[in-house]
Symmetry: C2
Subunit: 357 residues, 2 copies
């Protein structure tokens, strides 16, 4: 097992990464009282809920479960209400920990519930997908979607611990595993050219779920994100680089309906557009863009956005949280392995980039 | 005008107290961009919304209003949804300030919306009731009620500024003015015997809304609360003293239905019960309890809780946020002007205190 310590201005917390961690009570013990809520979804519940419940019960912790429906479309106020209702019905108090057992949807929704129930209760993130292990369980971002926009309602709230059990990746559907790999590739593109080269070499092993390669890769991404977040807890500066591909990606998700494209799939196609935009701005060469496509394709990811009118792209992108004083801001690449923020006023340029995709 | 600076671990902010402040753009300018949302209720909107909107428009700020229905029963998810919807429809971004124009319900609901919209946008509190000027607009507590409990969903979130215009107290109904005075008296009881004596002397002038006496009193309470909050931002220690009378008071509000008793009225009757509990525990004398009753009565406040079965009191009180590991904790008075926390296991004692009320 590897443990990283994440320092944030509000409180430090550990990220544990390894095999068999769901059975290790010593990782839970420092952060949990006599009662805990396990928030999960129906897919993950079928695989891991009974074992986790039994392990905690054997160590003297009473639990109750809130089982949400699986899928991004359920990252909403209805699911949030279901969690609040269960916490109140079980008379959860300020010491009752919330355990988020699942992927990003569970982590974000349960995290926001923990942030806001009685103005904040202890939160343990137990990410069970590659995406959430490398990305959404680290950094303290919690949120639910609103019918008019993704992640529009949320809070910055740090967990007490993140417990990333690599065994859970063995039950992950291939499409979701690839979607997680999109975020891994994102880390390489935005800040680490050597890591990009390593991914290009190791992608066959990673796609075959080689345990050592995975452990090393997940830990590397967590470390990169932890460093960025430690520098910038409330997303005013460098942390915005983590949104590489996301302005385009969110537009794809919004247009096709949340959950149709997986988040990582939309980000993959979005990163190709971000690379093309960077090329049009004179930062990247044509073969850099081709290299971005190739590494994404090696992870079985889509590199072509769906076709819909430019005005609808614009509508979605203008609505993005990264808009400041009405101006659209994009994460672009000054070279492969180095991100920057670019404000784009030229709609014609965006139209060309998207049309040529 | 008096200005207090409140230091908190997250960010310092000013509280401005005086007459005519709603017309003074210089107090708003440092915290506001080109667009702002004004959240208010129908009662306050009729009195102050047009003037505030015009003043801001004359200074180049476009506003849109979200007018909630007046009353504690509307401090809920429906009102919150109305604010989120308006922010999204008007394409509010992370720089769009939320101005909370009204009493505690508006301040708490709009404050929670500002804390959670896009994970936090600038908040300016403009309290228009005595209660919210001395209490709920200071300290960063935001929340909405849940059908199963008051203030159950919320966040700690600091405003950029508090603008307390004393002129707005002239339009406040007498019952609400008295309810605010309950919180003023609370400050005296929990931490300042000299202030209690001053209130006993000045109560006739205060009830007649003498401007100087009010300004001095509001500022004194804000200063006391600011000091307590600065010591203890997330309510682990001394800040709990601010809940004097609130465990009993919340039970009264929950039993009678939120909004039937005003919060301050329930706290007044709750403080009499807290004083009687303190007397039964051997801390206060009979004449101390009588003195608590007298000062509350001088402010036209109820000193007698409504009659309902003890089991229902217990049910409400066990559900209170101040319960820790299942034990009930009360703020009691070691003497008039000095609070403490007491854990009560003895239900018979509570039954006697409530029965004798």
């Amino acid at each position: 097992m590897q443990t990283l310590q994440v320092d944030t201005p509000s409180q430090p917390y550990p990220i544990h990464i390894g095999k068999g961690l769901l059975a290790d009570f010593s990782l839970f013990a420092p952060h949990i009282g006599k009662k805990a809520a396990i928030v999960t979804n129906d897919t993950v519940a079928a695989l891991y809920l009974d074992a986790l419940t039994a392990m905690l019960r054997d160590n003297g912790v009473d639990t109750f479960a809130v089982v949400l429906e699986d899928g991004e479309v359920h990252k909403n106020h209805q699911s949030l209400g279901k969690i609040y209702d269960a916490l109140l019905e079980h008379r959860a108090d300020r010491q009752t920990a919330v355990l988020a057992l699942g992927g990003g949807v569970v982590g974000d929704t349960a995290g926001f519930a923990a942030a806001t129930y009685q103005r904040g209760v202890p939160l343990i993130q137990i990410p069970t997908t590659l995406l959430s292990q490398v990305d959404s369980s680290v950094g303290g971002k919690t949120a639910v979607n609103h019918p008019l926009g993704k992640n529009m309602i949320g809070a910055f709230y740090q967990p007490k611990a993140v417990i990333a059990d690599l065994d859970t990746l063995n039950t992950l559907p291939p499409r979701e595993f690839s979607a997680g790999m999109a975020e891994v590739i994102k880390y390489a593109l935005l800040g680490d050219a050597a890591f990009l080269q390593q991914l290009e070499t190791q992608m066959p092993q990673l796609m075959a779920k080689d345990a050592d390669a995975l452990a090393q890769t997940v830990a590397h991404c967590c470390r990169m994100k932890a460093e960025i977040v430690a520098q910038d807890e409330t997303e005013q500066g460098v942390r915005a680089y983590l949104n590489l591909g996301h302005t385009f990606g969110h537009a794809i998700e919004a247009e096709t309906g949340y959950g149709t494209w997986l988040h990582g799939e939309a980000v993959a196609a979005g990163m190709v557009l971000a690379a093309k935009l960077s090329q049009r701005l004179g930062y990247l060469h044509d073969d850099d863009v081709a290299r971005v496509r190739r590494v994404l394709q090696a992870a079985d990811l889509p590199v072509q956005a769906p076709d819909f009118p430019f005005e609808r792209w614009l509508g979605h992108m203008r609505h993005d949280k990264k808009v400041q004083h009405g101006q659209m801001r994009f994460v672009t690449l000054s070279r492969l392995g180095q991100a920057q923020i670019t404000t784009i006023d030229d709609e014609a340029l965006l139209r060309d980039v998207i049309a040529a995709a």
